[in-house]
């Protein structure tokens, strides 16, 4: 009978082997049986357990080489596979399988619910005025289902639920009770900013009420990035599927478009959002995050892009004549730069010393600030010339919120590169600043319409 010391040693060995991706659990079990048989045989020849274990491990050979052999035989194992629901209900033990199935059922129910909510709301649409009502309420129709999933998953407390439902109710009242002037710009602004407010509330549920926690916020940032990637992938796949189906129906003379507009898009798009959220939750620890990988590719490219834009802007002549659309484009560029910054920070080891990529990021931020400085001058001259409008104030306000974010990030990144401060302060700045966007969006939705007479 093997002693407890030997058992502990074998446990250690097993954990060590198990870390190798190419060696599966079944292989480890097979090799463990070998190891134990070897130890037993060696013990019979008079070796004590420690010696027998050492000899047996030595005979097993260099694990790197063995693992390489396994990898050659099973190259598929080097690709991490995401198991959403186990193939055997009892796999993993402890009812893990059953709870995964239950989760799938909850997710599907919520996805269908989100789809049906949009579909039912579409049923009330009668005329272009109603379409704007629907657009205002779109996030209120879909996001509660997403928040519901996280509330269920995180077992949200009553306090968290109340803390989210109350502002959501205020948002709903504001969006529907304000007497918006038809086709006015404050209404369009409300439509554009309401999802940001809604997303902030989803974030509160996502972090299960720990909304003050920097780590919690960073997790929500990571989640958002991965969600965008997964929704895009689902949309691509869905598009291919719909296209193929429409092609086949077209050949036999049936037009799929009415079905597509009435059912497939309104039901599947909100559903896809909920399903994507579930996929991101499930893959969290299994598959590498892709958003930070994309930042590595696009950070240098964006630097080149900004540096080529700058001379064009400066040489472009009269800044007062600059097109208003340009300011919106600039905001989009700043958002892009911030996303690049945020996602590379979200994946960076905060203990690693400053490296080339950190310098590149600072160059990116400084280039963005330079371009934005030019644009801001243009905008301010324009406002001085033509006066304020809701659109201009909204664009300018967002620009200033972004600018403060970038200046703070540049200042801290510089301090980090010069060794004056740790990376944690760079990271903290990002997460601390994030609520500013939710607050600004809420201001645009709630304060702008009365301020500008609902025009």
């Amino acid at each position: 009978m093997p002693g407890p010391r030997l058992e502990a040693q074998i446990d250690q060995w097993r954990a060590y082997v198990r870390r190798r991706q190419a060696i599966s659990a079944a292989d480890v079990e097979e090799m463990e049986d070998h190891l134990r048989a070897q130890v037993d045989d060696l013990a019979v020849t008079g070796l004590d357990e420690d010696e027998a274990f050492l000899v047996a491990v030595k005979r097993m050979g260099n694990l790197d080489a063995v693992s390489r052999e396994f990898a050659r035989e099973h190259s598929d194992r080097l690709w991490k596979q995401l198991v959403l629901v186990p193939e055997h209900p009892d796999a993993g033990g402890d009812g893990v399988g059953a709870s995964r199935w239950r989760e799938l059922a909850v997710v599907l129910a919520l996805a269908v619910g989100a789809g049906l909510a949009v579909k039912v709301a579409l049923g009330f649409v009668d005329g272009p005025g109603d379409e704007m009502v629907l657009a205002r309420n779109a996030s209120l129709l879909v996001l509660p289902f997403l928040a519901g999933y996280f509330a269920w998953k995180r077992r949200a407390t009553l306090r968290v639920v109340a803390a989210v439902v109350a502002p959501a109710a205020v948002l709903a009242v504001v969006l529907n009770a304000y007497p918006f002037v038809p086709a006015g710009s404050t209404e369009v602004l409300a439509v554009l900013h309401a999802p940001v407010v809604g997303w902030t509330l989803v974030g509160v549920v996502y972090v299960a009420g720990r909304w003050r926690s920097d780590a919690g916020r960073m997790d929500f940032v990571r989640f958002t990035g991965e969600l965008v990637v997964y929704v895009t992938l689902l949309a691509l796949g869905g598009g291919v599927l719909v296209g193929l189906t429409a092609g086949i129906f077209g050949i036999v003379g049936i037009d799929l478009e009415p079905v597509l507009e009435d059912w497939i898009l309104p039901v599947c798009v909100p559903g896809a959002l909920v399903v994507a959220a579930w996929l991101v939750e499930a893959k969290k620890s299994v598959v590498e995050n892709i958003a930070p990988v994309l930042t590595k590719v696009f950070t240098p490219l964006t630097v080149v892009m900004l540096l080529s834009v700058l001379p064009v802007l400066l040489g472009g002549g009269d800044l007062v004549a600059v097109d208003r659309g340009l300011l919106i484009l600039m905001d989009a560029i700043l958002v892009l730069v911030l996303c690049l910054l945020l996602y590379s920070i979200s994946a960076r080891d905060s203990l690693a010393p400053p490296g080339f990529f950190d310098v590149l990021q600072l160059v990116l931020v400084v280039a963005a600030l330079a371009v934005d400085g030019v644009m801001l001058t243009a905008m301010l001259t324009r406002i001085a010339e033509f006066g304020l409008s809701p659109n201009k104030v909204a664009a300018l306000g967002l620009n200033l919120v972004l600018l403060a974010h970038l200046v703070g990030a540049a200042w801290r990144a510089l301090g980090f590169l010069r060794g004056r401060r740790g990376f944690a302060s760079v990271e903290r700045w990002q997460t601390r600043y994030l609520p500013a966007y939710g607050i600004w969006a809420a201001v645009v939705v709630v304060v702008f319409p009365p301020l500008f007479g609902f025009a």
Partner: protein
């Protein structure tokens, strides 16, 4: 005794197939049997046996099934398949040719050792 790793790799497949042709077996027993057959002079790196067995399984030369050892542990058993027996017969012919050629070359070296020493002298 140290045996060149290329030689070990080349002989591993026919050895494993040959041992399994004697009857169903499992990893440790196969490794032990190799030791016995070579009079203890051939020692494999035991871990390498398993990727080899899995490769043979993928090529459908052996089949596997999980059973239980006397001590109650889960143990994977391997058995040779019909295709495995064919492969073994083929390997055996190949090795016979190689062994035959080698035997003659050893004989030649033994009969004319003087020629070799002369050249070195």
């Amino acid at each position: 005794m140290h045996i060149d790793k290329d030689l070990v790799a080349a002989s591993a497949t026919p050895l494993v197939l040959g041992i399994l042709a004697e009857g169903e077996s499992y990893g440790y027993a196969i490794a032990k049997r190799v030791g016995e057959l070579s009079g203890g002079r051939m020692q494999w790196t035991d871990g390498m046996l398993y990727p080899l067995l899995h490769r043979l399984e993928r090529l459908e030369l052996v089949s596997s099934s999980w059973g239980t050892s006397d001590a109650g542990r889960r143990r994977k058993h391997y058995a040779i398949t019909a295709a495995g027996r064919d492969a073994l017969a083929e390997r055996r012919e190949q090795w016979a040719v190689v062994a035959d050629a080698l035997r003659r070359v050893w004989q030649d070296v033994q009969e004319r050792p003087a020629a070799v020493t002369e050249r070195w002298a």
